[in-house]
Amino acid sequence: MKKQKSISFQSNIVALLAACCIFLSAFEYIIPKPIPFLRIGLANLPILIGITLLPFPAFLLLICMKVCFQGLIYGTFFSHIIILSAGGTFSSSIAMFFLYKFCKKYISFIGISVTGALLSNTVQLYLAGLLFFGPSVWLISPPFYIIGGIAGLLLGVFTNTFTGKSMWLTQCRELLYADNS
């Protein structure tokens, strides 16, 4: 009975975080971008919070929802851009998830977020070079990496403070893992 309750609460969390992803994607859409792909990755914030709360299958569901909703909001759902977006999101999210699970002691959200941002950029550039634009795509990589790295850093600082202070997060964690401990 308790297990069931925790599962339904878990799906509530997935829905809430996915809703945050939609809102932040829409918010990010209004920020002007000098280059179409140059995004600061605000929508990764719920993903970072999701890492601390969700088990792997629910986390996968969350990142699938993030990719779909972002595609719908940017209007790229049925275009080739969705491949880049999905590749970047999946690789970086999965890497961040396991980095958090196994190296939690040595690394805070700043390191996790920077790793995620750079990995996502690398995978996107690699896929773009391989599938669509050819190797010349690497010429734009330095500003891409610098902006991605700085955005990842700021996001990490925010998540660090948030996870340190949020009462909501502590309560969620208690509710989710009450039966485990």
């Binding site: 690394i107 920077v114 990589s141 990496y145 790295g149 340190g164």
Partner: protein, 123 residues
């Protein structure tokens, strides 16, 4: 909020990788010179940084061209005056060797480097 050792390592690695990437990208661009060999029939393009010797068929016969240490020169030519061989080695963007009897033109194209060679008029 406090940094853990892993964060510092990751940030340092990331900064190092970005710097390395930027430098390698821009140094590649400077070296990006190609040797274009133009004959009446075809245009051949060879990268200047790979040493090789090339045989090109012109209208009189075969000319031997050598690319060595980012320099190009004509080794032998079936023409009578051998002006093309006397021209010596060329390496800068925009410099050229022409062999009019054999109808071969060698010209180096690419991004201009900082120190441009004095052109043929001021020599």
């Amino acid at each position: 909020m406090k940094l853990k050792p892993g964060d510092i390592i990751i940030i340092i690695i990331a900064m190092g990788a970005i710097t390395f990437l930027t430098f390698s990208l821009f140094s590649n661009q400077v070296n990006n010179k190609n040797c274009h060999i133009i004959t009446p029939e075809k245009e051949y393009i060879y990268p200047l940084h790979i040493d090789q010797s090339i045989e090109i068929k012109g209208s009189l016969g075969i000319s031997h061209i050598e690319i060595k240490n980012n320099h190009v020169h004509m080794l032998s030519s079936p023409c009578s005056l051998k002006t093309c061989i006397k021209r010596g080695e060329i390496s800068e963007v925009g410099s050229w060797i022409a062999c009019l009897p054999n109808k071969i033109l060698i010209i180096i194209k690419g991004k201009k480097s900082e120190k441009a060679e004095i052109d043929i008029l001021s020599e």
